[in-house]
Point group: C2
Chain length 143, copies 2
DNA sequence: GATGAAACGAACACGTT
DNA sequence: AACGTGTTCGTTTCATC
């Protein structure tokens, strides 16, 4: 993880579709050298994937919320792998504090959101914060 | 936004670096037609960007937290554009409820995290939930 | 890590429905 | 208006130094 690796990470975080040739011009390295470094960042797990980001509202997910789950001991959502497959659940973080986890959820409607809450309730007490807007959607990680 | 657009969104969310040729094979459409559709999804704002995702711990950000800010009226973090530029702040969501916003923060150390809390305190009361692990980092948005 | 050759993909104009 | 075909040019990849 030298300066060159960080330069590649910076560029690929900003635009994951940059070609190796374009990357080579930006970091001043030959295309094969760039390809080898990127492959190494992938295999070592520093780069976990390349993802197109979608505008949730424009994709029909008009209701977005952060849900803090305070679970009933052994019934915790974190212990049920089925929750990982619910299409409305976009992220799950295990956290410290009163809640055991924070879920990011996006649904097409309030009715659909209500059904998610109904499915979550058996695991514990959900506390929902509806997302009004997202002033900062994403930031590049720098050294 | 027909089935073909959704097929392209699905593939690009899973792997943003797929070539137009590879996409054309997967959705059974010619490469120029794929390129035109993807360009349209970009210009209409459905696709907001292509980003390489980085493992925070492997990138040296060992401390990750979700911080709920309960701000003092006019001093709200959402009203100060400077906060958008803090490199430790990866996401900001404006939400309903007791808190006015939720921030995702990642720092190299607890000392650095403490300094973020010190910088946030003037805006309101920060309530931090440290992220222990992330069982679901990201999910593809489907129709 | 750089270079050069060969295979592959992207981009444009054009023709088709 | 949306898609397919062609050629041209740029990109990826592998062998080699």
């Amino acid at each position: 993880m030298d300066d060159m690796d960080w330069a590649l990470l910076r560029e690929l975080q900003a635009d994951a579709r940059l070609s190796y040739s374009e990357l080579s011009r930006r970091v001043h390295l030959s295309p094969p050298a760039v390809a080898e470094r990127v492959r190494r960042l992938e295999t070592t797990g520093v780069l976990t994937g390349y993802h197109a980001h979608v505008d949730l509202a424009k994709a029909g997910r008009h209701v977005v919320a952060m849900i803090r789950m305070s679970c009933y001991g052994p019934h915790c959502v974190l212990r049920d792998p089925k929750v990982l497959d619910w299409p409305e659940v976009l992220e799950i973080h295990r956290v410290t504090g009163d809640a055991c986890s924070i879920l990011k959820v996006a649904t097409r409607s309030m009715e659909e959101f209500e059904s998610v809450i109904d499915r979550l309730a058996p695991y514990g007490q959900p506390s929902s914060s509806m997302v009004l807007s997202t002033p900062l959607r994403w930031r590049t990680v720098l050294p």
